[in-house]
């Protein structure tokens, strides 16, 4: 057997250039999986570290029952024997931050408080000092650096919907905000300040134990004395660590999902490579069989070859994965996850890399290997240099046809019966059916366009088209991988864009005035209305309120009808002429409209009926005769004191909406694009292998007068044909799937219509064509370098 292993290794090395591209597919797949693992391991470590640091100096944490509006918890805890010191703590997750000059710091900021007692401070200041008296705050270093804030600066800080206060920055801390809620600053305040800003009692109290009592003992005493939950230090750390690890796990699972996709694509490419390479080695295989190698031995040696490629690909993939894991935080910071993560390379990751790389290569090679080694010994003696492609069998046609038709019916049916499940099932069925049918359908489609294209492009293009479909199965497998990748990206992009109506239109719908004042936190302080009213350059502001009314069980929204009347949705249980009680007032119903469980009131009525309605945004127009520019300046001055409020004009608001949408979209698209890239590598791969196979033929073409340039063009055209076929079919499939999916969602009133992001699809096509052109460069060079006379003279 050693002899055969030697032969296998030799063959693998001899075919190395041929397997290079397919191992590149393995490399990318493995790299992504490993990169994800290393990054999320690092993330888990960082988050765990943060979780532990968070409870530094905290011996016991007491949590009040939410129902008890308890102002005296901290005092009662202090009276427990064994408590040296205790402090009530708040964590306010939606806080606005601006400089005193009104420059707004964007983000979802979190405010926490610290005790003046250093023994109760979980973290300290790296510059300046911790807040000691009212009006002093500390910020995290990262935000300070990014927004150029210095110790001594004056800041405006306001709670979710509340009035802002002015504070002095007295120090910076290395601690950071919990990144889960999105990027933002960590604001550290004194207990008195935060209690005033929060407006409600703290529900946690942290405790520093006196000497001579264990944390667990003390927790027990506190729980007994106060009736609240008290958790000792170790348990706090354990819980936080578990939560951190769980968060990292969730994130890892999501990343690995994309990784699996990449690996799946790599499987396509590898399977295709082995099919082609084994077809080209038919004679060698037959000779081996003829000389007495059993079929099992041949199969084993092909799988060994696959394993060797897999090991190589995994090793390189691991290295690329390390690079990737350092690059991933950069990508992710685009969505606001500012993770200071150093990737962790563990033995497990290395093993996973090997398992994935070798596993996917060997498994993908299995089917082609079984087929490719079913060679009869006499085939070594036959004159046909290249195995003829088997036509698609009848069962395959029948199954493919049935599945495609069923899938189409499912997609169409989903829009009629409004079943998203049916749309998903239809998608899976139609893709499977198409994959089966592709060796027939794809070449057929190409033959349809052959005549017009050949008329335009001449003999070179015609030849390229013929070459492309010469082996329909190979062509179809190559384009299938691309099709699947493009379908994924396409469907995702189409759905995401359609679900969010075009920003321009949404801005139109939302804005009834020249300016819109709103907040990333969703709520703005009502005092802002007074500030606006004080500006003569501005017309009367039109506020929008939003809240849920417990009395009627309805959502309350701001409507444009005259004061004193209500408009209700049909399912609210009243009709025109009836009276409806909303909040503390009763209104006659003036009309009934669409929507679910909602009542619309005039803004003044909402203010009258409710004590503290949520002000979500304000529409502002310039006062009559005031130029927009002056009005805008006045508006900004009025808003300077409100850190959370931001003013937009129509264009700015549309851009803001778009940016929000695109940020998330870009990351997912980038992750999905990996699948497309691997599929494009597959195109390069197929072309390279085909050129090797057609060495003699290309020499013949050159001999009969095809210039080098035209040979180059011919191969480039062939690559572009493969890339465009896969991409266009993929785009068509995603349009069908997106139409079905959108149609399957039953919505009140108008449904969601398909919005085609032409720019993105255009980019996709251009990328595919450019990649194909690039893919043809090396094979073309190889084809051109072949000496014509020698090749033709050489015996096979």
């Amino acid at each position: 057997m050693t002899g055969l292993i030697g032969l296998t290794l030799r063959t693998t090395r001899a075919n190395l250039t041929r397997s290079l591209l397919s191992s590149l597919a393995v490399v990318l797949g493995v790299a992504f999986v490993c990169g994800s693992l290393m990054f999320t391991d690092g993330l888990a470590a960082a988050m765990t570290g943060r979780a532990v640091a968070q409870y530094h100096n905290i011996d016991v944490e007491v949590t009040a029952e939410p129902a008890r509006d308890d102002n005296g918890l901290a005092d009662r805890v202090r009276r427990v024997d064994g408590v040296r010191a205790a402090e009530a703590t708040w964590s306010l997750p939606f806080v606005g931050l601006a400089t005193a000059q009104g420059r707004k710091i964007r983000g979802t900021h979190e405010a926490v408080n610290v005790s003046p007692d250093p023994a109760l401070q979980p973290f300290g200041a790296s510059r300046g000092r911790m807040p000691a008296t009212a009006g002093e705050v500390v910020l995290d270093q990262h935000t300070a650096e990014q927004d150029r804030l210095r110790v001594g600066d004056r800041l405006l800080i306001s709670n979710f919907g509340g009035e802002p206060g002015t504070y002095t920055l007295v120090g910076l801390t290395p601690a950071t905000k919990d990144t889960v809620g999105g990027a933002g600053a960590l604001i550290v305040m004194t207990t008195g300040d935060i209690a005033a800003m929060a407006g409600y009692p703290a529900n946690t109290v942290i405790v520093d134990a006196a000497g001579g009592v264990t944390d667990a003992e003390l927790a027990g005493r506190i729980a007994a004395a106060t009736g609240s939950e008290a958790v000792p230090h170790d348990e706090l750390v354990r819980r936080a660590t578990d939560a951190a690890v769980g968060d990292a796990d969730t994130f890892r699972t999501a990343l690995l999902g994309f990784g699996m996709l990449a690996v799946g694509m790599a499987a396509f490419v590898i399977a295709n490579t082995f099919t082609i390479v084994l077809a080209q080695r038919t004679r060698e295989t037959a000779l081996l069989r003829l000389l007495g190698t059993t079929r099992r031995q041949v199969l084993r040696s092909v799988l060994l070859e696959a394993a060797v490629i897999g090991v190589g690909g995994s090793a390189i993939g691991l290295v690329v994965g390390v690079l990737l894991s350092y690059g991933l935080p950069v990508t992710l910071s685009a969505v606001g996850a500012t993770a200071d993560v150093s990737p962790v390379i563990s033995v497990r990751t290395v093993l996973v890399a090997l398992a994935v790389g070798v596993g996917v290569t060997v498994l993908s090679a299995l089917l082609p290997a079984r087929r490719g080694t079913r060679v009869l010994p006499v085939e070594a003696l036959s004159d046909a240099a290249v195995q003829v492609a088997r036509p698609a069998g009848r069962p395959r046609r029948a199954a493919g046809g049935t599945l495609t038709a069923t899938g189409l019916a499912g997609l169409a049916g989903a829009t009629v019966v409004h079943s998203t499940g049916l749309a998903i099932a239809g998608t899976l069925i139609i893709v499977t059916g198409f994959l089966l049918l592709s060796p027939i359908v794809v070449p057929f489609l190409l033959r349809l366009v052959h005549r017009p294209l050949a008329a335009m492009g001449g003999a070179t293009v015609s030849l390229a088209l013929l070459n492309a479909v010469r082996n329909p199965r190979r062509f179809a497998t190559t384009t299938n991988a691309l099709m699947v990748g493009v379908t994924l990206v396409g469907t995702f992009t189409l759905l995401a864009h359609s679900a969010e109506a075009p920003a321009q239109r949404r801005a139109d719908a939302k804005m009834s005035a020249a300016f819109l004042v709103t907040s990333d936190l969703g709520v703005i302080p009502p005092a802002l209305l007074d500030a606006l009213a004080a500006r003569p350059q501005l017309a009367a502001a039109r506020p929008t309120y939003e809240l849920f009314d417990d009395t009627s069980g309805l959502e309350v929204r701001t409507g444009g009808q005259p004061a004193g009347t209500a408009v209700v949705s049909a399912d609210a249980g009243t009709t025109t002429g009836d009276k409806i009680k909303v909040g503390t007032r009763t209104f006659p119903v003036s009309s009934v409209t669409g929507g679910t469980k909602t009542v619309w009131l005039n803004p003044a009525d909402i203010r009258a009926a409710f004590e503290t309605p949520f002000l979500t945004d304000v529409q502002v127009d310039p006062a009559p005769g005031v130029p927009a520019k002056n009005a805008r300046a006045a508006l900004e001055t009025a808003l300077a004191g409100f850190p959370t409020a931001i003013a937009y004009d129509h264009d700015e608001y549309a851009k803001h909406l778009n940016a929000q949408l695109n940020r998330g979209l870009d990351v997912v698209t980038a992750l999905l694009a990996l699948a497309v890239i691997i599929a494009l590598i597959g195109v390069a791969n197929t072309l390279t292998l085909s050129v090797v196979e057609r060495t003699r033929e290309n020499a013949l073409l050159r001999a009969v007068g095809l210039t080098r340039r035209r040979l180059r063009i011919m191969l480039a055209t062939e690559a572009v044909i493969m890339a465009l076929t896969g991409t266009l079919i993929g785009v068509a499939a995603s349009v069908a799937i997106a139409l079905s999916a959108l149609g399957s969602i039953k919505t009140e009133g108008e449904g969601i219509s398909l919005a085609v992001p032409w720019d993105r699809l255009g980019v996709l096509l251009v990328v595919a064509v450019l990649a194909a052109l690039a893919a043809s460069i090396v094979p073309a060079r190889r084809a051109i370098r072949v000496p014509v006379a020698e090749t033709l003279a050489a015996e096979q």
Partner: protein, 239 residues
């Protein structure tokens, strides 16, 4: 006992309208330790006969025996092992694996079987085919005649019961062809091998101890140690 026997051997390719009867009830014995040639017009069934005799193809009916073994009853696995251990092959072309050196190609059947080569036998075979200083070359670095000599050495390395050669000189110039035929002749005379060679070359057949003629898939006649002229005359008659 003959080394090789074909009994009532028939081979039909395809079926129905398009069926081609390549062999039609052929009975031939090939004695051990002799150099046999199989001749006949193009399409008379020479290659088909050889493929059936060597266990590369299954006859439609009839039996093939190599010594005691009835090839027609063996499974594919057993047939493969039979070829590996007891049959040698030399073809017109594409005899060698391009990635292996001459030495490795010669040792390939043993490597497949996982057997260690008998160094003395290896040296003797290599010396007899005159390749001692070419052993580390790849096939692409060897001339056609040298490649064919590597193939002969490979066919002999397992000391097979029978060596089959299908037009082994068909691709060679006359001098290289003569060398290869001389090697096969020596293998029979000096090493006691049994060789069955399909050829349409009169000079090649003249190296043989016995020449069997096929026509239209049937056994026609046989000549013992014929001269080139005799062979030419018989060929003319059987055409």
């Amino acid at each position: 006992m003959p080394a090789l026997r074909a009994i009532g051997l028939s081979k039909v390719y395809g079926s129905g309208e398009t069926a081609v009867t390549a062999l039609n009830g052929v009975d031939i014995d090939f004695a051990a330790g002799r150099f046999h040639a199989v001749m006949g017009a193009s399409g008379s069934g020479k290659s088909t006969l050889m493929h059936c005799l060597a266990g590369l193809d299954r006859p439609t009916s009839g039996t093939v025996r190599i010594f005691d073994a009835d090839l027609t009853t063996l499974t594919d696995e057993k047939l493969t092992l039979m070829r590996r251990d007891h049959v040698g092959f030399v073809f017109q072309r594409f005899n060698l694996l391009p990635v292996l050196t001459a030495r490795e190609n010669i040792l390939l059947p043993l490597a497949i079987a996982g057997r260690r080569p008998d160094q003395q036998w290896f040296d003797r075979v290599v010396a007899s085919v005159g390749l001692t200083d070419r052993l580390d070359h790849r096939p692409s670095e060897l001339s056609g005649g040298q490649q064919q000599r590597v193939a002969v050495a490979r066919a002999l390395i397992t000391r097979p019961w029978v060596v089959f050669a299908d037009e082994p000189t068909g691709n060679l110039d006359s001098r290289s062809g003569a060398e290869v035929l001389g090697l096969l002749r020596d293998a029979v005379s000096a090493l006691g091998q049994t060789v069955v060679m399909v050829t349409h070359d009169l000079r090649a057949a003249a190296y043989c101890d016995r020449v069997v003629f096929l026509s239209d898939g049937r056994y026609d006649t046989a000549l013992e140690s014929p001269s080139a002229d005799e062979i030419a005359a018989t060929l003319e008659r059987t055409r």
